[in-house]
């Protein structure tokens, strides 16, 4: 039951983009086409899980024993950046089609604060290792859900007459705001 609630809360109630406002750059940058948004969502889920594993181990076995908790942010950034570099090389060698279709978005994950946010939240909430992993999956899925919904809406904009000044990013931001308000309806459902 707890696991189920954790999932529901991470996806709907405390959605990483819509309720915690993390990862807004890829949220707007990669939500023009559904196919790209699904690829980006999958990549973020993958990186979030990997990042959570590594940062969790480093936090527990390096930072806490040496009383270096205050180095958390910089160490986590270092770990995530190296990880994304590694994933990039790995994909380029092993799965070139996926590497090609993600293109420029792959290195962008390095600067995706949602990944860092999850790694830090896991420590704040003092999850155990398994719960931390589940939370990473759920948060990534929440990110993907928001991304795909926004991409689906923005695909409709292609055949909609929108005032010139509002086309592109402005209307995207307005939509993001409205979606965020809509997700507010879930607030209070789970503590």
């Amino acid at each position: 039951m707890d696991t189920f609630l954790l999932f529901i809360s991470a996806i709907f109630v405390n959605n990483i983009v819509l309720a915690q406002y993390l990862g807004n750059c890829p949220y707007l940058g990669c939500s023009k086409e559904k196919s790209v948004s699904i690829g980006m969502g999958a990549a973020v889920i993958f990186v979030t899980i990997m990042a959570t594993i590594f940062t969790y181990l480093i936090q527990k076995h390096v930072l806490i024993p040496f009383h270096l908790g205050y180095l958390q942010t910089i160490v986590f950034i270092l770990v995530i950046a190296s990880l994304v570099q590694f994933v990039e090389m790995f994909l380029k060698k092993m799965v070139p089609p996926l590497y090609k279709s993600l293109g420029i978005f792959l290195p962008l994950i390095t600067t995706n604060c949602a990944v860092l946010g999850v790694a830090i939240l896991v420590q704040r909430k003092e999850f155990d290792f398994v719960t931390a992993l589940l939370y990473a999956v759920a948060a990534g899925a929440g990110f993907m859900l928001a991304l795909v919904i926004l991409a689906a809406i923005r695909e409709q904009f292609e055949v909609t007459r929108i005032p010139r000044a509002m086309r592109g990013t402005p209307i995207g931001l307005v939509m993001a705001g409205i979606m965020s308000l809509a997700f507010m309806a879930f607030k209070g459902m789970i503590a």
Binding site: L71, L78, F90
Partner: protein, 289 residues
């Protein structure tokens, strides 16, 4: 305290760097260093006009595929084309500069309306409903999908017809691919004559819906001494290359013979005019003829 933190950071950084260094050796992918150089010579517009996904895809193709010419990029200046050609060791060729052209003059033809359209203001959407609100299903719908698609701001809608500014048009072909009625075409900038209608209907059907349209009578085909006019799918096509090669000696008899004034001269002046879509100069010449 400070030593521990410095050492920890240093240690972690060192471990990460070593892993990445090893990985970059183990997962090394051979990449052509020339791609980068060719990419630098290209304008980086990523417009897709060359028919490839983007500038990088074209750079790779032009380097590796002997059949891909170095002058496919229409946003390139002649200098850039020459650079790409020298980098790839291919002949630059004399790329004929092209320009987009609209094959419809429905404002002159009082095209009948099938119904009043009040849906989404987009040609693609309007086309989905009974082939659009115009009685001619090949006409310019005038909702400007092409205008919105044009990356170079070279088109605009006036009186429900699209117009093209040749000076700004780089002939990337984005509009040609966008138009749901396929009435846009890339023609050589120097082209002498052009058909101002794209209907594929038979003569009678065209007469019923549009006073201006081409009735496929074939008079122009018979008269052309260079035999560069053909009818494909009931649509008149002009082989501009052959037409230009034949030269001025024919004095554009096809234009004179067209009973509907749908074949018009694109006089040299017309390319300096604002819009190629419709040129009054040639119209007058023709009316006087």
């Amino acid at each position: 305290m400070i030593t521990t933190s410095v050492l920890t950071l240093f240690g972690l950084g060192f471990v990460a760097a070593s892993i990445l260094a090893i990985a970059s050796k183990a997962l090394y992918v051979e990449e052509d260093p020339r791609v980068e150089v060719v990419l630098d010579a290209l304008p980086g517009a990523n417009c897709g006009g060359c028919g490839f996904a983007g500038c990088e895809a074209y750079a790779i193709a032009v380097l590796n595929d002997p059949d891909v010419p170095p002058n496919k990029c229409c946003a390139c200046s002649p200098d850039a084309v020459a650079r790409v050609a020298s980098l790839t060791g291919k002949a630059a060729g004399d790329a004929e500069p092209k320009v987009a052209f609209r094959r419809c003059v429905k404002i002159e033809g009082k095209v009948a309306r099938k119904f009043e359209y009040a849906g989404i203001m987009s040609c693609a959407a309007a086309k989905m409903i009974l082939d659009g609100p115009d009685a001619c299903k090949y006409s310019c719908l005038g909702f400007g999908d092409c205008v919105r698609a044009c990356p170079f701001d070279a088109m605009w809608i006036e009186d429900g017809l699209v117009h093209i500014a040749p000076a700004k048009c780089t002939s990337c072909g984005t509009c040609v691919r966008t138009c749901p009625n396929s009435i846009l075409e890339l023609i050589p900038k120097r082209a002498r004559v052009m058909v101002f209608c794209s209907s594929q209907d038979k003569g009678k059907a065209v007469k019923d819906v549009c006073e201006a349209g081409c009735i496929s009578c074939g008079a122009c085909i018979k008269k052309c001494p260079a035999e560069c006019i053909t009818m494909i799918d009931e649509r008149i096509h002009i082989d501009h290359k052959a037409c230009l090669a034949f030269g001025p000696s024919c004095q554009e008899v096809c234009v004179e013979k067209c009973p509907r004034n749908i074949l018009r001269c694109l006089s040299p002046e017309s390319s300096t005019k604002e819009s190629v879509g419709y040129s009054e100069v040639s119209n007058e010449t023709n009316l006087n003829a």
